[in-house]
Symmetry: C2
Subunit: 122 residues, 2 copies
């Protein structure tokens, strides 16, 4: 369990964090807050307070807090105090990074993969 690169350990922690339905729901909420079809204002629209998140989930505040801490520790969300409440959001770069992990083109060590794919299929 301990002879893996930081890389795989860190990523496993991310996936573990997303492996709980409540946390995945939070994460998804934080990514899909932009109304479909409208311009996404990254700086504002993607922020939610802990309270807002808790309302949708219907679980105890202490449980919401626990889950948010897990998401934060995994490096999936950012938080910031704003007056009485605390804002949560996701950095768009993180989504790119995660998306890239499953990108077979990426895994194939760069570039000419679109080419290769076609070769295989022909």
């Amino acid at each position: 369990m301990s002879n893996y690169s930081i890389d795989i350990q860190k990523r496993a922690e991310m996936f573990k964090a997303l492996g709980n339905p409540h946390r995945l729901a939070i994460f998804q909420r934080l990514t899909t807050c932009c109304v479909p079809g409208t311009v996404c204002e990254m700086e504002d629209a993607m922020h939610f307070t802990v309270g807002e998140i808790g309302e949708e989930l219907e679980i105890a505040p202490s449980t919401v807090s626990h889950h948010l801490k897990e998401l934060f520790r995994a490096g999936l969300i950012q938080t910031r105090r704003n007056g009485k409440s605390i804002e949560c959001w996701i950095e768009p770069e993180l989504l790119e990074q995660l998306s890239g992990f499953f990108n077979i083109d990426f895994l194939n060590n760069q570039s000419e993969l679109t080419e290769n794919k076609q070769k295989v299929k022909s």
Copy 2:
């Protein structure tokens, strides 16, 4: 925990399965088996036997078996008996699906997102 859509439940199970370092290593092995720079023969090169996987992980065969079962139950890998051994592989479509989940363009409900992104940044 139970008032979530099948969708989110199923996906959470996938991420939970990937949330263990050993399983993530298996999964990664199964996706990156193609030698970088060469053509990826989907039908053959992406298959590994349980034994081959176990060797690299240095854990008891029964533990490997357990992890593979989890990956299978989550819908992440496919298996097939071939003689004495059992082959495991990942369907490329699955990688596309997972990659798409983190694709903010995708989340934003299709198409004109590349456009939108640029609008925001300008």
